[in-house]
Each structure stands twice: as C-alpha cells, then as structure tokens.
C-alpha cells in the first residue's frame, strides 16, 4: 500500500516532486545552516573547560592543579582562571625543606621515644601496615595484596622477615653453673638439655623450653633458641628470646642467681648485669640484626649476596681485623671460603645439616647488589654428600660474638650516602667494582640454618626451611636491600603467624604469660568489633550455644573433665608421652594415665574434611558413634535465649529514663537561665552501667560449665585456624584436655567434630598430636 502522508494520496492538490534539486534545496535553507555552524564554532559557554571533559578523564582538584588536565586544555583553563580572579594558592613548604636531615631526624627520634624501631623501620613503614607489639613498632602485613604470594615465597621462593626484635641474652660463666641454673628452668623430658654434647661445640643452634624455676610442668615461659659461642676459648651461651618473654626470663634468671648467693639477695638494682655466682647475664640491646629467610631460594639468594673474603691481606687494614689480631683470633678465611663455595650450589637449605651455624666474613653486600631486581637462581652442580654430612669444626667460629669487635664494626659502619660518595670519588671506570677497597670494611656475620619440616608424615619435607642471618647493627638495611634486590619477598608478623599454622606449630601456647596476654588482646579486639555492630546484625551466641565466643575458658573446661578444680594448667610437652599418644591415636590403642593429667592440655593439629574454614575459638567436640559414618551433617538445634526478653525490657526502660532526664534538663534550663550549671562529663572510653549490663546480657561472662552446653561434648578449642596451602584444605591448631583425648581414644575414635562459633554445623576433622619442638 502507498503511504498516506501527503495530500495527493488523500485526494488533495499537493504533489510530491519526483526529483530534488540539491542546489536549490540547500540554498533555500542557507540561513539555517549558517546559524548552526556559527553556534557550533562559537558556542555560548557557561561551563569551565574541565567540566567539559568526560567523566573518566576528570580528576580531583582539577580546577586547582592544572597539571591534572590534558595538555591541550591547560592554556584555556589558565585563561579562565585568570579571568575569574582566583587568588594564587598558598604554597606548602617544599618537600626538600620539610625533609632536611636535621628536622627529619628530630622527628624520628621523637617518635621512637615511646616504642623502639627496628633498623629497617623506615623501609617497612613505606610498604607495610605497622602495628605496636611488645614495645616495638613492627610490620604486620604488606600493603599490596600479597597473602598468597608470601606463602608461595615461603614454599617455592624466598620469604624475608626482619626478626631483629628477638633479643639476644648473653650468659657467661663456668659451664657447671650455667648447667645448674638451667636445670631449674628446663626439663629433660621436653628434649635435650642446654649443655648436651650436640650443642656444646657451637656447631648447631638448639631450642629449649623454659619454665619458672622448679614448677615444671606448670609455669611455662617460652621456647628459646640458644647457641653456644666460643669467645676467648671459653664457651658462652647466647639465648634469642622473644620480646614478649624477655622481661620474665630475665627476672627469673636474675632471681635464680641471687637466690643461690645469699649475700646479695636483696640487690634489685642490678637488673641488667647481675654479677652473681660467677654467672653473668646481659641483654644485648641493639647489637645485632637478625633476618629470617624462608624457602628453598633463600640459599641461592645468600650465595649471590654474600661474597666471603678469601685472603687476610685484603682485609688486614679493616679496624675490626686489627682489633681481632689483639685477641689472637684466627679468622680462618681460606677454609671458610672453600667450604662456602662447596655448598653454595645447593637448591635448598634443607639439604644441609639441621640448625647448623656458619660464621663468615663477607664483603660489603652493596658491592654485589644487582642494578635491577633479579631472581637469584641456583647453579647446577654436583655436590658430594661428604660436605652435607659433616659440619667442619671451624665453620661456626665467628668474631661477631666479641663485644669489642662488634662495637668496632658498628662504629665504622658506612652509611649509604658515604658509600655512594666514596664510590663516585674513587671509581674511575664506571661499572667497575673494586671489591677489595680497604676503605670499605668487610663484615663478620653468622648464619643459622632452619631445617623446616623433617617428618614427611606431618608436613612435606623441607617446607619452612631457610636461613637466619645475624649481622652487626648498622648493616641491617644494606643486607636487607641486597636480599630484596635478589628476589626475596618481604613479609611481616602476619606471615610469621601463618607460617606457624602451616608448619603446625604452636605460636603462643596458652599456658605461657605471653600467650595469655595475646589471648586477652584478641578478646578485647573481637569484643570491640562485636559490640560495634547494631543489635540486629550481631550473631546471637546464646542461640547458637556458644558460651565463650571471644576467649578460651581453659580452667572451666579442665574442671568439667576432671573432679578437681584446677587454678593452673599446662600444655603437654613431654616427648615420650606425645609419641605414645600419637601411636595410640593411629593404632586405636589405649592411653595410660600421666601425672597431672587433670591439668593437662594436648596440642592437636586438625585437618578438616570437606570445604570451608575453621576459625579461632571454634569448639572441638567428641563425636558419637554414628556421627562419623552417617552422611547427614549434624546440626546444633537453636538454644533458647532467656535474655532476649530482659534485654528488650531494659532497653525500653532505658529509653524512658533518657526521656525523663531530658524533660528534667529542659525544665531546669527554663528555671535558671542565668545560672550556668556545670555538667559532669563522663570520660568517653568509660562504659555506662547500662551498656555494661546489656553487654553482659548479650555475652554472659559467669559460666560455670562448658562441657555439656551443646549437642556434643566439648573437649577443646581451636586457637588458630585457616585455609592451609600446604594441605590444600582447612587446617587448625587447637588444644584439647588430656582426659577428653583419653575418653576419645578409649572409645576407639580418632576423629573429632569441629563447630565454628557462628555456625550450627558440626564438621568432621582428623587429628594429629603436635610434636614439633
């Protein structure tokens, strides 16, 4: 059909022309076209130039800072600004001015007055979230998304951590006295004693569990790494103590010494150096830096970074070498150089003897630093197993342990600026390196091997292996940056925590003072988060049957599982009992009683079946017979919340009270307009009685029993749980009571049920006893 728009089709007289003369058509519309082109060329602008930009090209403070604009628009923008007459903006003092060394240093020392900084602090502060712990400002986690990358580094590459916060304590004196002193604080059942033949030569570092004197198995203090060093041919003991335990450890040791010497019993002033009974204790603040390199690539990184000095003649002019000549120390440079070059082509540090110690004298690490960040790769080469089996006697000796030499090295440390200045002055051919420059001193260092996992049933062999490097203070950043440039990835405290979980080690055992503090800190933190939420968004723990969502009621749990009511408890560390327990679990045997079993917690490692993660404070429960076979998941029925009604009433009353008070206030105001009544202000961090009561109603704190609160009997709690990359499933570390474990094994079970605090589901998990020392 034809279109019916025009006249002709409707019967009118207007006909459409068959053709259009374009010239005529345009000329008749010439005025319209001219108007349009003019309006395009000279638009009637009401906006500023930058407002014309599309949204994705707009930047903040564009109008103030013309450099945010595209270059071609800047000119017009400036014209507009001039026209509008904006005042010239005030200049901030230049960065150069602000960061003048004197001002900056002042600022930094001011900041360090309250808490200590590590030597690499400023490097870390630019890249990490920093937190305050144990009197230090420490790196917690890197700012970039690097959680998985840090795990990958620890398992396939190299993870670098600054653990200089571990304080060395030097103990000198006759060997018998030291042995006697430590026999009060340690127990043979937990492992080798401190004066075992294996450690006394100084070739290996060791670990030891420390307790309060005479209170084993109670009163745990912490796990301490120790190392025997030979200074002036007499053995000295160096303990590396975690800063959370230093104060306790020191006071205990000082206490032992002063007790043994009745003449100077009430000498409390001598805190740092107690010169009693021939044993001297000295905490070496700020004398060493200690870095931890974890992962197989830590060995290639070290071999690339550390270039041992070959001949004495090249370093003879160093001040500390002259100093060492006075002590008649043989530096054994040649032998150590040969040994290091023999073992330098390994692919992983876990191929070397466990916890071996190597003392080296190396050139300044800034010499070997690559221009660009490169990955250190190991060279392939055949190594005879001879070098791997034996540790040569000379390997561990190091002049670093002499206080005088250490101080000399520290004093003559060359800063980065001086180093660069020196190079640019003396370096005639660019790029040429004169490693034997006598002006730049060589540095004594000590390496301690970390064996990682050595039990393939527990963790894959070699996971967590690496090196600890101890360098004199003043050289921390020089070494640190060289490691980073060779491809090490730096991590913080979060990585330490996660590594402990992956390795299946107890990070802070709950029976130590430091563990209790950590628990307290976590509790406050979690409580804070919980009560920040509005009531409708809070998990109702009463309904879920979780009595302690923020803390661990160890003593109540132990009381429930025994007839006694314990005040104190301990974590099982007796090696023999642990291996017996493990065997009994595996073979479904029986467990014999141990002494103090009623006060004993057993550390266990859980592998959760299925998906999903188990978090902190999750309940570990005893399964019943059908639970492990049935395919149906066991769910906790909803508990009744008797407090809900009370909370509602309280809230209503409180609101009424507030209203009443407000009315009263207004009345008073009207009455006495002239009088200025002083209002009593409450401190902001102090909670009112009402809030405290309400919180108590949300999470009651007066709990008498925890064992039978839920569907299944509670036997313990998870202290740390997350997805484990080594096992590729959720793993957790928890503690159960010894009696509960006995009950479990007696009923021929080797699996447990786990329930998160915010869920009703019980999940099945395999358990292993943690035996890693």
């Amino acid at each position: 059909m034809e279109a019916t728009e025009f006249d002709a089709s409707l019967g009118g007289g207007e006909h459409l022309p068959n053709t259009v003369n374009s010239f005529k058509f345009v000329s008749s519309r010439s005025i319209e076209i001219a108007a349009m082109t003019e309006s395009i060329l000279k638009p009637n602008k009401t906006k500023l130039i930058f407002q014309y930009l599309p949204v994705h090209m707009r930047r903040r403070v564009m109008s103030h800072n013309c450099k945010r604009l595209p270059k071609k628009l800047r000119e017009g923008h400036m014209e507009q600004l001039k026209k509008s007459g904006l005042p010239p903006k005030q200049k901030r003092p230049s960065r150069k001015f602000r960061r003048r060394p004197t001002n900056l240093l002042e600022e930094y020392t001011k900041r360090q007055r309250r808490i200590a900084w590590l030597e690499t602090h400023i490097w870390h502060a630019k890249r990490f979230h920093m937190i305050e712990r144990w009197g230090y400002r420490l790196a917690y986690r890197p700012c970039d998304k690097a959680f998985r990358a840090c795990y990958r580094a620890s398992s396939a590459h190299c993870l670098l951590q600054d653990i200089s916060y571990c304080l060395p304590i030097r103990i000198t004196g006759p060997l018998e006295s030291i042995e006697k002193m430590f026999s009060y604080m340690t127990n043979r059942l937990c492992g080798l004693s401190i004066t075992a033949k294996a450690y006394l030569s100084g070739n290996r570092a060791g670990f030891i569990h420390m307790f309060k004197p005479g209170s084993y198995p109670f009163g745990y203090v912490g796990k301490v790494e120790f190392l025997w060093v030979h200074v002036n041919l007499t053995p000295e003991l160096i303990l590396f103590v975690h800063p959370s335990q230093v104060k306790e450890m020191e006071s205990i040791m000082v206490g032992i010494i002063s007790e043994s010497d009745p003449h100077k019993c009430d000498n409390k002033q001598m805190k740092l150096i107690s010169n009693l009974a021939g044993v001297k204790i000295q905490v070496l603040y700020e004398s060493f830096n200690r870095f931890r390199l974890t992962g197989p690539k830590s060995h290639p990184i070290l071999t690339h970074c550390l270039k041992p000095v070959n001949e004495i003649s090249t370093v003879a002019s160093n001040k500390w070498v002259c100093e060492s000549n006075k002590f008649n120390i043989d530096l054994l440079l040649k032998e150590k150089y040969d040994y290091w070059s023999n073992i330098c082509n390994l692919t992983s540090p876990s191929q070397l003897p466990a916890r071996m110690v190597i003392g080296l004298t190396v050139r300044d690490p800034r010499w070997s630093r690559p221009k660009k960040r490169t990955k250190a790769e190991s060279l392939d080469c055949n190594i005879s197993s001879e070098h791997l089996i034996k540790i040569p006697d000379f390997a561990s000796s190091s002049p670093l342990w002499y206080t005088v030499i250490n101080n000399t090295v520290k004093k003559n440390a060359i800063t980065n600026a001086k180093f660069i200045e020196h190079i640019t002055k003396t370096n005639l051919v660019p790029g040429e390196i004169n490693e034997d420059d006598p002006k730049i001193q060589s540095i004594p260092i000590v390496l301690i091997q970390l064996p990682g996992s050595q039990n393939s049933e527990y963790k894959k062999i070699g996971y967590g292996s690496g090196w600890d490097i101890i360098v004199p203070s003043g050289y921390g950043l020089a070494f640190w940056l060289t490691f980073v440039m060779f491809g090490a990835r730096s991590g913080g405290l979060r990585e330490t925590e996660h590594l402990a979980l992956e390795m299946g080690e107890c990070y802070f055992p709950p029976d130590s003072e430091s563990g209790k503090l950590e628990e307290k800190r976590m509790e406050l933190h979690l409580r804070d988060i919980y009560f920040k939420r509005p009531p409708s968004k809070r998990v109702n723990f009463i309904k879920l049957g979780i009595s302690n969502p923020f803390n661990y009621p160890w003593t109540i749990l132990l009381k429930d599982w025994s007839e006694q009511s314990p005040n104190d408890f301990f974590v099982l560390r007796d090696r023999k009992v642990i291996s017996e327990l493990q065997n009994a679990l595996r073979k479904k045997g029986t467990i014999s009683d141990i002494s103090n079993g009623d006060f004993c917690l057993v550390p266990i490692y859980l592998h959760v079946n299925g998906t999903g993660t188990v978090k902190e404070h999750a309940l570990i429960c005893v399964p019943e017979f059908g639970d492990l076979i049935s395919t149906r998941t066991i769910c906790e029925a909803q508990h009744e919340d008797p407090n809900a009604k009370i909370r509602k009433e309280r809230r209503k009353d409180h609101l009424n009270l507030l209203k009443k008070l407000r009315r009263k206030r207004l009345k008073l105001k009207k009455k006495a307009t002239t009088k200025s009544t002083k209002q009593v202000k409450r401190k902001p961090h102090e909670l009112s009685e009402y809030v405290k009561n309400m919180r108590e109603l949300w999470v009651p704190s007066n709990i008498n029993s925890v064992r039978h609160n839920c569907l299944r009997e509670v036997m313990g709690y998870v202290s740390k749980g997350a997805f484990s990359f080594t096992e590729s499933k959720c793993c957790a570390i928890g503690y159960v009571t010894f009696n509960a474990l006995k009950h479990l094994v007696d009923s021929k079970l080797n699996k447990v049920l786990v329930r998160n605090i915010n869920s009703t589901k019980y999940r099945i998990a395999n358990i292993q006893i943690i035996n890693s020392l």
């Binding site: 080798l192 004693s193 003897p353 466990a354 089996i389």
Partner: protein, 142 residues
Amino acid sequence: MGDETNPKKRNDQQDQRRKPNKNYAVKKRLPLRPREGDNVIFVTKKTNFKAQLDKCCDLLTKGEKDIILHGLGAAIQRCCNLALQIEAAFCGTCQIEVNTGTVDLVDDLEPLTDDLDYGAQVRHSSSIHIRIFRTAMLGANQ
C-alpha cells in the same frame, strides 16, 4: 594409582626401619635435585596425578620438544604411569626414553640423649628419569 597398601601396616614397617638405634631419631632431609627447568617435572606421591598429566600434555602441545620426568622411591610407579599415559595420549607422536639410577639420601640422626652428638646416615633410593620427546610435530602446533 595402585599404591593401595594398608596404611597401618606400612606405618609399622616404617617405624622399625627408621629407628636404627634407640638413641637417635631419624630426620629426613630434602634429596639433591637434578637440574630444574620449565620442562622438568618432579613426580611425588602427593601431587595430583591428573593435574600433572594435564601439565605435561600442555607442555608438549605448546611446542616443548622434550619433557623430563623424575621419580624417586615410591613415586617411581606413578612416574611410569604418567609417562605411559602421556605416550598413549599422544598416539605415537612422542617417544619415551627411560633411565634408572640411584640417589643418595642423607638423613639426620638427632640424638635423644645428652651425651651423643648429631649424626648422619646415607640411604640409597632408586630413581627413574624419563625423557619424553616429540618424534612428529602435529601440523597445527608447529
């Protein structure tokens, strides 16, 4: 893949074998590794078999001329299995070259009493090294 021995029995055997002396605890070290590279694959008992098979097939189809599989001890069987499955998957376009050998493993002997020093022992373990190489390139992948 065929290693379905009774775990309980295996553990008992291991316990006996691993304790040469009551005074020592045996701790294992990582074995020395042959040369690593993109086309070198270490087969262990824990790695997912299917994942490694896919990885090998990927490498070969992406134009790698040869890949080398290493297997040690109990993983030898898996290693052979993997190689044979790859060969089957490539229907005669690749060949297998097998070498066997012995690897020295070093164990740490950790003393359990104070008056002993650390020791070390050398164990021997059989190993297999399989090289899989392409004999004919598929037209599409050249």
